[in-house]
């Protein structure tokens, strides 16, 4: 690790961060953040609803802007920084991807649950055909053994992915688990390996470093760590740490710090911290974007969010199943009522 290696940082403040904004970014917010990231020298930034293109819904929260409006607001201010979008097959459809391509997106990140890579073939082929860079996202990677993650990563590679990510959607992975999975993918794939962290156990920076040490060449961050649950790896902190370690990122540290402090923080509805609910996500292994939806259900039914999240983890609920929150909350309420009756 003595020689300088280049690490590509993809900033997803305008996608994963959208969860923490309850998908209410305004066009002016997007323009300001994107411009600040461009000034800071970010290679690629991701702009989409938190649940990807087509994610605006009752299930995941309605976006203030359409995907198209969001992409336009970002594209307008970008010159060198590449524009990426996220798409989850089953939520977003081909038309969404075609729209994103027309609006200037050059990178398509196609995400599936860690065992379901084969539903990404259709969209990866389409993105490839459109000349986009394709990044495969294997979500909830903590739920499966390394060999399974490799098997699924190989499928994505065979569909044309240029990079395959180990995605710790629940912020539940420990550094050794990150090391094993990234190392195995490095060994078994010919394409690059990426890593996406959540900070629910306070390990976002540590896990990202572990991934880099095992050979990950692409990693995600968000300004001020804004993102689902306790948030993602803070881009500015990662830039500082990688600079100290001697990695090359192309990011201007002062400018990315300013972007986080002066541009993003004033927009944040609440500080990005590891509160009890966020910690419960990481501990129980639950998809990070469930947090705010769980808060709402818990408040309405007078429950502790932790009880709901732990039960969701026990049931091995996967990303996208936000409707299970209300289902589980109603069942817990019924149980509590039944107990009271006894």
């Amino acid at each position: 690790m003595s020689q300088k290696r280049r690490i590509r940082v993809i900033d997803t403040t305008l996608r994963d961060g959208s969860h923490s904004m309850s998908h209410r970014y305004r066009a002016s917010d997007i323009g300001q953040v994107a411009a600040a990231l461009e000034r800071a020298g970010l290679d690629t930034i991701e702009v989409s609803h938190g649940d990807g293109l087509g994610g605006s819904s009752i299930q995941y929260g309605e976006g203030l802007l359409t995907d198209q409006e969001s992409l336009r607001a970002a594209k307008e201010v970008l010159a060198h920084t590449k524009l990426a979008v996220l798409l989850l097959p089953g939520i977003g459809v081909k038309e969404d991807l075609e729209m994103a391509r027309r609006e200037g997106a050059r990178v398509a990140r196609i995400a599936t649950h860690v065992t379901e890579a084969d539903i990404s073939a259709q969209h990866m082929a389409l993105a490839k055909q459109a000349g986009m860079e394709v990044i495969g996202f294997l979500m909830m990677a903590h739920m499966e053994a390394p060999a399974k993650v490799l098997e699924q990563a190989k499928l994505m590679e065979s569909y044309g992915a240029d990079v395959v990510y180990v995605v710790d959607s629940a912020g539940a992975m420990l550094p050794d688990d990150v090391r094993r999975k990234v190392a195995l993918l490095r060994e078994g794939l010919t394409v690059e390996v990426g890593f996406h962290a959540h900070n629910n156990l306070g390990l976002a920076i540590g896990n990202t470093l572990a991934a880099i040490e095992e050979g990950a060449a692409v990693v995600d961050g968000c300004l001020a760590g804004l993102g689902a649950g306790a948030g993602n790896t803070p881009t500015e902190v990662l830039a500082a740490v990688l600079d100290r370690l001697g990695y090359e990122t192309g990011i201007d540290l002062w400018k990315v710090m300013d972007a986080a402090e002066d541009v993003l923080r004033p927009l944040m509805p609440r500080p990005q911290v590891i509160d009890k609910a966020a910690l419960s996500l990481g501990y129980a292994g639950v998809y990070s974007s469930f947090m705010l939806h769980t808060h709402r259900a818990a408040e309405r039914l007078g429950l502790d969010p932790r009880d709901i999240l732990v039960e969701l983890g026990r049931r091995r609920v996967v990303g996208g199943q936000e409707d299970m929150i209300v289902d589980v909350a109603l069942e817990l309420t019924q149980k509590a009522v039944a107990k009271g009756d006894l």
Partner: protein, 298 residues
């Protein structure tokens, strides 16, 4: 006298449908079980059951003058070829593929196929069969501005066809929620869950009404529709009474398979074969045969 039918496609869906017809239907009789693969387990099983089989697929079906209804459980591309041939031969097609040559049919919404004149009907998707009745149940009480359906399928019962065509699933389901369910706008979401032991197939149906809903009327309509669906899909259940939040109504259902051939967790496949059987029987009734026989097992 029972109406003679053929099943095209000898995979899981075709086999489950064969067993359902044989066990439950007095209106239909399987005269031919046809595919292309001589090594198909389905063909062997049908042969053991004493059902005439063929590996000459559509050709064998076209040659049999007595066959009047054809269930197509092959693939969308194959059905696009089969549809004009079946029409030309005067046979009615019940299409279980996403080809959607003919109009969508959800038996709970139109049990006697009163609105269908074409000799080709499409069974939408498994998500559509489970969610559209709920959209319709709400929409018949008051106008629905928007419907959103979330279908979660146990990974093991999502076949290669569904996986390779996941976009078609979401687009077709959403379209069915509009055309048959009566929602002005609609969105469909599908999620695969690999949990082991498998979860049950479940569906959440959100509707947004134009005005505040009449809660009693909506609840009564939903309960009534659940019973209608249960008439031909015994494992269809409401998980919780409808949840109201302003103009929004949330309904959750789950579908346990009958376990005829497919495992019980594969409710998503069971509801397709149940719906196809119900539609096939309605067609048989329309043909004026078996009028006094009553329906299949209610």
């Amino acid at each position: 006298m029972a109406v003679k039918v053929a099943i095209l496609g000898t995979g899981n869906i075709g086999t489950d449908l064969l067993i359902k017809i044989k066990r439950k239907s007095r209106l239909l009789e399987v005269g031919l079980f046809a595919g292309v693969d001589p090594a198909s387990e389905g063909i062997a099983r049908a042969g053991e059951m004493g059902i005439p089989t063929s590996t000459r697929s559509i050709d064998a079906v076209l040659e049999d003058q007595e066959i009047r209804i054809v269930f197509d459980a092959t693939s969308a591309s194959a059905h696009l070829r089969h549809a004009p041939l079946l029409r030309g031969a005067g046979k009615v097609a019940v299409d279980l593929t996403p080809a959607a040559v003919g109009p969508y049919v959800v038996p709970a919404v139109d049990p006697e196929l009163k609105n269908v004149l074409e000799p080709n009907i499409n069974m939408v998707t498994c998500g559509g069969q489970a969610t559209i009745p709920m959209v319709f149940a709400v929409a018949r009480t008051a106008p629905v501005a928007y419907a959103e359906t979330v279908t979660t399928i146990p990974s093991r019962s999502a076949g290669p066809g569904t996986r390779a065509n996941i976009d078609e699933f979401t687009v077709t389901t959403a379209k069915g929620a509009q055309v048959i369910g009566g929602a002005k706008r609609a969105k469909a979401i599908i999620i695969l869950n690999p949990a082991d032991p498998p979860i049950l197939n479940r569906h959440t149906i959100y509707t947004v009404l134009e005005e505040e809903p009449d809660r009693e009327a909506v609840t009564a309509s939903v309960m009534d529709m659940v019973n209608t669906v249960r008439g031909y899909v015994p494992g269809y259940r409401l998980k919780h009474p409808p949840v109201f939040d302003g103009k929004k109504v949330t309904v959750m259902v789950e579908v346990e398979g009958a376990g005829d051939f497919l495992p019980k967790y594969a409710g998503n496949l069971d509801i397709m074969t149940c719906a196809a059987l119900a539609a096939g029987e309605a067609i048989a009734r329309k043909m004026g045969e078996g009028r006094t026989q009553g329906g299949g097992r209610a």
